[in-house]
């Protein structure tokens, strides 16, 4: 039975033929919430222009880890990080770096679609305006370009001035991805981007991510192992705050080294 489930998983999209260069290097990262040691001594390479999936049961620290990569955990007063996350010769965890600039280069999409209660075009133009873009022409072109990249342009081009909250959940999530693309980031972090969506919208997002990985480095947290198997080039399995296993998705799913990885992907727990 367990064997059969394994066979259902297909690996059509994610055969890594050659090792891609490393864009982010995570070394000895520990994260604490007050006294709670949430992430323990994680070492992990993130390869350029690929999809890396972080999987594991609830509370395993995968989201916490993801939110550390663009310092969103700064919002939580009790959170504390140790170790280094190397990106472009800087340590992201260094308290002195410009967090605002970092977040322009490492964008993020959340579990709950969170478009701003403004018009569709305003959602995309807001970050650009803050970044100093004034020309109406450039703003318009960027809006069209971003919406085309996420396949939303044809659906919304006649109602760009309508409120973004009038879109469906799946459209809202694609708008949020488009918004993150507007600043032309290097890396996009996605925190369970499809878990609040219906299956059709989810598969649209998956297809979109496969397309986007040609231009961006993508790190995705997912509860859905099939999703990781379908789209990720690399997969990291977290359990109880530790990184248990990391490798190419196909290897990790078909031939895991650790017993707990094998137990988790075969559905024995989590």
């Amino acid at each position: 039975m367990i064997q059969m489930e394994k066979n259902i998983v297909s690996f059509t999209n994610n055969t890594v033929t050659k090792e891609l260069p490393i864009q982010i290097k995570v070394e000895n990262v520990n994260i604490f919430y007050g006294d709670n040691h949430a992430v323990k001594d994680v070492n992990l390479p993130i390869h350029e222009k690929s999809i890396t999936a972080l999987i594991g049961p609830s509370g395993c620290g995968k989201s916490t880890f993801l939110r550390t990569i663009n310092r969103m955990n700064d919002l939580i007063p009790s959170a504390r990080c140790e170790g280094t996350i190397g990106y472009k010769d800087v340590n992201i965890l260094n308290p002195k770096i410009d967090v605002v600039q970092l977040r322009k280069e490492i964008g993020m999409v959340f579990q709950q679609p969170n478009p701003f209660p403004k018009s569709i075009s305003e959602n995309i133009q807001l970050p650009l305006r803050f970044a100093g873009v004034r020309s109406k022409k450039i703003l318009k072109e960027a809006t069209e370009d971003c919406l085309k990249q996420v396949g939303l342009w044809d659906e919304v081009k006649d109602r760009l001035d309508r409120s973004a909250t009038s879109l469906s959940g799946g459209q809202q999530q694609r708008l949020c991805i488009a918004r993150a693309l507007a600043l032309k980031p290097d890396v996009i972090l996605l925190d369970e981007p499809t878990s609040a969506l219906d299956p059709v919208s989810s598969s649209k997002i998956e297809e979109l991510l496969l397309e986007l990985k040609n231009s961006y480095t993508i790190i995705i947290v997912t509860h859905n192992m099939q999703q990781a198997a379908r789209i990720a080039d690399y997969t990291a399995f977290f359990y109880q705050g530790e990184l248990i296993e990391f490798g190419q998705t196909r290897t990790l799913f078909t031939n895991p080294e650790k017993q707990s990885t094998s137990d988790y992907i075969s559905g024995r727990f989590g």
Partner: protein
């Protein structure tokens, strides 16, 4: 007694309470309006009060009420909204923050007569603003400020965390996130709160007795130079408001139609406050619709 019975009893008690509340409101409003509406006329609204003779109106008092209200709001809204943003967004949990929050709560629960006495000692006497529109507005600021702070803070807390994270994750600074995303999203609830508090300010009397005064100079509604002593816009002239007028006419009025004037003024006051409430609701609804999409 079984649980079904208990359920029924609880329901009837709750309905009875709600009905009692509605009955009190309706009967009071009805009484005031029935007594007063007959004395409201164009003449009543547009004639100055007469100290001895019958047939006086409430023109100056009505104007003063609105003028004091506007000045109060000009003073309280900017400070209150900024204070609320500080408490909701910047204040870190700790001693200082809880001290500030306690201050806001105490300020909100001060009896208005005490605020009036304080206003007289500090604004009227110490700063020498005399009995004036400005002193009155400052006294009202003392007790309206905490309301605005609270309304703003609540408006921000009611927003989902996702909005703020969305802004920050796009490389916006904290202040820009507040300015372009959070404040516009919280705006409808803040505005509703402001208008409701305006109703309270409009009807306030105790805090104004010793600060805005019990008299009004002969206002010349053709003279809009704020520096001139009988201009309606003069900030440093005494200004009896409508609710203060009701009190003073009732306690010491010597004109023959005291009762009519008091009833009419009360009705006008109540109608204005009602209008504020209705306006707040309508505006809140319209803005909400505008934000949440057509």
């Amino acid at each position: 007694m079984n649980s079904k019975m208990t359920n029924r009893i609880a329901l009837s008690v709750i309905i009875a309470c709600a009905a009692a509340m509605a009955a009190i409101l309706v009967s009071m409003l009805g009484y005031i309006l029935v007594q007063g509406v007959s004395s409201i006329s164009w003449h009543f609204l547009t004639t100055s009060a007469s100290p001895f003779l019958a047939g006086g109106g409430i023109k100056d008092q009505l104007w003063n009420s609105f003028y004091v209200l506007v000045i109060t709001m000009l003073l309280t809204v900017p400070i209150g909204v900024c204070g609320g943003i500080y408490l909701a967004e910047y204040a870190k949990p700790g001693r200082l923050t809880s001290f500030i929050r306690t201050c806001v709560e105490v300020l909100a629960s001060l009896p208005s007569i005490v605020v009036g006495m304080f206003g007289m000692l500090v604004f009227v006497n110490y700063f020498g603003f005399k009995y004036s529109v400005f002193s009155g507005a400052l006294a009202l600021t003392v007790f309206n400020l905490p309301v605005i702070v609270r309304v703003t803070e609540d408006g921000f807390h009611a927003l989902s965390r996702h909005q703020k994270e969305g802004g920050l994750a796009l490389g916006l600074t904290h202040w820009h996130t507040i300015k372009t995303i959070l404040l516009p999203a919280a705006f409808p609830s803040i505005l509703t709160g402001i208008i409701l508090s305006a109703g309270r300010v409009f009807g306030e009397s105790a805090a104004l007795l010793f600060t805005a005064g019990l008299s009004t100079p002969d206002l010349d509604f053709g003279n809009w130079n704020p520096a001139s002593p009988n201009s309606p816009l003069n900030l440093f002239r005494s200004a009896e408001t409508l609710s203060v007028h009701i009190w003073s006419v009732n306690t010491g009025g010597i004109m023959p139609d005291v009762q009519t004037i008091a009833n009419g003024s009360a009705a006008v006051l109540v109608i204005c406050v009602l209008l504020f409430n209705l306006f707040a609701r309508m505006l809140g609804k319209v803005i909400n619709q505008k934000f949440s999409g057509k």
